[in-house]
Symmetry: C2
Subunit: 201 residues, 2 copies
């Protein structure tokens, strides 16, 4: 792709670095921005700068926050002795959306993945151990992806916290509510039979 | 979607204004940027600012350019008496990619579309008329979309330039090179028969 302008090319290449964005989509975005008022482009540029300067991470759970302590950790009505361990912010948002969880979170910011060169020290596992030791946490819920990385991370954390009296749980895996058995993949269906739960009338 | 941080939400909403980007994709982009070095985010933000301040439009063809006259219009070896009328920059890039065209361009910056409230005065038609009257242009090639908007725009321009001795042409529409007849849509196939060309051995 040859661009008629260096400035345009720069902008397109910058956008093309974003995940899932190729050069063609990046060009479409840049041409869209060119048609907008200067104020809108300034707003976008300003938001970007603020992202890196003004955004905080909660000192307790490492979730993104505007203050030093996020809303969830600062809320005294939440059960601070139950910690749900998740990979990132999106998982917190998804669980919060259900309105079913009243505990607090711990955002790892990634999963252990030797292939990608991410070791235990690259994510917030040490901070979780410190936090558990200093608090009265009595349950850790793993809400991690059902992948090798997720399983490795959960296993590593449970080993690290061995000896501390603590209940470890994992979110239930099984057939979705309303899901048809015949369309479920065999691994999920197999696990849902192995991990069957008591039937309560 | 409820965000744990106002700054994060602002950034996501700004990204979600881009074409084809929903809130989920915007969030993915923002989280990606958060993991990057500050310099990369600064580069993106800087490119955006430059877009609106330093980018020029060629005074001749209205294509995006770093100087007052774009490379194509400034090139004396190009045939300045043949003007190819296109909708936007991407069309110029696509035609330039073929290396088959040695004339110059005129970038309208849109097509007449009453539904979207875009009239002839919103795109660079007046500038094209002025340009044609002041130059020795002898051919106008319409390389516009084969839609109602494209046809309307070509028709309007040809009417506006009525009386000026000038050849109007349109890019050929037909079956793509290597395209199978049985898979071609009927409108294209029909037009390719109506607009058949002499067979040269």
């Amino acid at each position: 792709m040859e661009f008629p302008s260096k400035i345009l090319e720069d902008a397109v290449l910058q956008f093309a670095k974003l995940p899932g964005i190729g050069k063609k989509t990046a060009l479409r975005m840049v041409l869209h921005l060119l048609k907008q008022e200067k104020t809108q482009v300034d707003q976008l540029s300003h938001s970007l700068e603020k992202l890196k300067t003004d955004l905080h991470y909660c000192t307790e759970c490492h979730n993104i926050s505007d203050a030093n302590l996020c809303n969830i950790c600062a809320d005294a009505r939440r059960h601070h002795e139950v910690i749900c361990v998740v990979e990132d912010l999106r998982d917190v948002m998804a669980i919060e959306n259900t309105s079913q969880y009243r505990g607090v979170y711990h955002v790892l910011g990634g999963l252990i993945s030797p292939v990608d060169g991410i070791g235990p020290s690259d994510i917030k596992i040490e901070a979780l151990c410190d936090r558990v030791q200093q608090s009265q946490a009595r349950e850790i819920i793993f809400a991690l992806a059902a992948t090798m990385e997720g399983d490795t991370t959960a296993f590593y954390i449970s080993k690290r916290l061995q000896g501390i009296p603590m209940k470890f749980t994992s979110i239930a895996r099984g057939i979705a509510i309303g899901g048809e058995l015949e369309y479920a993949d065999e691994i999920t269906l197999g696990r849902s039979i192995l991990g069957r739960i008591p039937y309560n009338v």
